[in-house]
C-alpha cells in the first residue's frame, strides 16, 4: 500500500524510501560470522583454494584451549603457525585430530577451505577490527628512540 498523507500520495517519501533501500542493497554487508572465527589465508589463495576458516566456538565445546595451544603447539596468532597441508598429513597442527580417528580426515577439503576467496588472514570480530580508530598512543611516551620499522 502506498504511503498517504491527507489523502495525497507523498512521492517524496516514496523516493526517499527507494533510495534508502537501494543504499542498503548496494552498500557492502559486513561479515556476520561468530566471534573468534579465524580466516587463515597464508597460502590458500595462492594455491587456488578458498581460505581455511576455523571456528573457535565449535572446537571449544569439544576441547579446552590447552589441547591445541599447549599440546599441539598452535601459537596465539592468526596466520602465525604457517600451517601447510604437508604438516597436516604428517599429523601436525589440525592433522593431530583431523586424521580420520578423532575427527574427519583431510580429504574433506571444503569443510575447512570454505572461506570467501580473497579474504585476508584475520580473526573475525576481534576488538582491533571493531575499533573506530586505532588505539591511542599512551601519554608521555619517550620521544627520542628510533621507531621500529613496520613489519611487512
Amino acid at each position: 500500500m502506498l504511503p498517504k498523507m491527507k489523502g495525497r500520495i507523498t512521492w517524496r517519501a516514496l523516493a526517499l524510501g527507494a533510495a534508502a533501500w537501494a543504499a542498503m542493497l548496494i552498500a557492502p554487508v559486513p561479515a556476520q560470522a561468530e566471534y573468534g572465527d579465524v580466516v587463515i589465508n597464508n597460502y590458500a589463495d595462492a594455491a587456488g583454494m578458498r581460505p581455511a576458516v576455523f571456528s573457535h566456538w565449535f572446537h571449544r565445546v569439544r576441547f579446552r584451549c590447552k589441547v591445541c595451544h599447549a599440546d599441539l603447539g598452535f601459537q596465539f596468532k592468526a596466520g602465525g603457525n604457517k600451517i601447510t597441508m604437508a604438516k597436516i598429513i604428517d599429523g601436525k597442527f589440525c592433522g593431530a585430530c583431523h586424521n580420520g580417528e578423532i575427527a574427519w580426515s583431510v580429504e574433506n577439503c571444503g569443510m575447512c577451505h570454505s572461506g570467501v576467496p580473497g579474504t585476508p588472514t584475520h580473526i573475525h570480530g576481534s576488538t582491533a577490527q571493531t575499533l573506530v580508530a586505532p588505539p591511542h598512543q599512551p601519554l608521555l611516551a619517550p620521544a627520542a628512540a628510533p621507531a621500529p620499522a613496520p613489519k611487512k
Partner: protein, 247 residues
C-alpha cells in the same frame, strides 16, 4: 543569479574557509609531510610485536564514511545486522562451496547455554562450571581432569575504575600454565606492566581477550575490573592540575 543564491554561495565559501582555518590552527595529530602518522615509540615494551590484525579495508571504509555521509546518524557505530547466522549466510564462508552448508550452525549449538551480551553471546566459563559442555583436557582421553589452580591476583589500577582481580581458577580450567607463563606474563609480582592500550593492540590479556575470549566492550569492563576502590580513594591529580596557576 539572484541575491539569495549569491548569499548562499558566499556563506558556503565562508563556512569552508572557517572550517579549514580551524582545522589547520589546532593540529591534533602531527602527521609527517608524506601524510603518515609516526609509529608509536615502544622502547618501554621490548617484547611488543606490531599487530597486523586490523584489516586495511575497514580503515578505508571508515574514511569514505566520514567524507560521504558526515551528517548521518551514528556513522562510526558498527552494529551487527544479525547474530548466530548459519555458515552459508555469515559472510565469511563461501555459499558456493558445498561443504559450507554441512558445517555446524551456531544458533542451535548455543541453545540452553548461559548467555552474555558480547562475543559469542555465551558465557563460556559458566558453561563449563555448569557442566553444560564437556570439552576434553587431553585430545584422546575424555576423562582427563585439568590441573586447576585457585589463586586470585589483585592488580591495583591508577584510574578510577575498580581494581582488577585476575582469577587463576577460570583460566586454568581451560589453559595450561605454559600458555601464559613466562612468554606473555612473567610469573612474578610487579613484573608485568599492563595497560588497556596494549590489551587493545593484542598484547598481554589482549592475546586472547578481544579475539577469542570475551571481548573488550563497555559491557565487559567489570568482568576484570571487579574490586571496588576503598571508600577513601580519590583519583590522583594530574601534574597540570597541581601546577594550575588559576586554581
Amino acid at each position: 543569479m539572484n541575491w539569495h543564491k549569491k548569499t548562499l554561495y558566499m556563506s558556503c565559501a565562508l563556512a569552508l574557509f572557517l572550517a579549514g582555518s580551524a582545522c589547520s590552527a589546532q593540529p591534533q595529530v602531527t602527521a609527517r609531510p608524506d601524510g603518515s602518522i609516526p609509529v608509536m615509540d615502544l622502547s618501554y615494551a621490548p617484547d611488543y610485536k606490531a599487530v597486523d590484525e586490523m584489516a586495511q579495508s575497514d580503515v578505508q571504509v571508515i574514511h569514505i564514511a566520514q567524507v560521504d555521509d558526515i551528517n548521518s546518524f551514528n556513522r562510526n557505530l558498527k552494529k551487527p545486522k544479525g547474530v548466530h547466522l548459519p555458515p552459508a549466510e555469515d559472510g565469511l564462508r563461501d555459499p558456493q562451496n558445498e561443504a559450507t552448508h554441512i558445517l555446524a550452525a551456531p544458533k542451535p549449538a548455543f541453545e540452553g547455554l548461559p548467555p552474555t551480551e558480547f562475543g559469542n553471546r555465551v558465557d563460556w566459563v559458566k558453561t563449563l562450571d555448569d557442566k553444560k559442555v564437556r570439552p576434553r583436557w587431553e585430545k584422546e582421553d575424555p576423562d582427563a581432569e585439568p590441573f586447576v589452580m585457585d589463586l586470585d591476583i589483585v592488580r591495583p589500577v591508577k584510574a578510577s575504575v575498580p581494581d582488577v582481580v585476575f582469577p587463576h581458577r577460570q583460566h586454568t580450567e581451560w589453559l595450561f600454565c605454559s600458555n601464559c607463563h613466562p612468554a606473555i606474563f612473567i610469573p612474578q609480582k610487579g613484573a608485568n606492566q599492563i595497560n588497556m592500550s596494549a590489551i587493545l593492540l593484542g598484547q598481554k590479556c589482549g592475546v586472547c581477550h578481544g579475539k577469542v575470549a570475551f571481548p573488550i566492550t563497555t559491557k565487559s569492563c567489570r568482568k576484570c575490573h571487579s574490586k571496588p576502590k576503598a571508600d577513601d580513594w580519590k583519583p590522583p591529580l594530574s601534574e597540570v592540575t597541581l601546577k594550575n596557576p588559576w586554581k
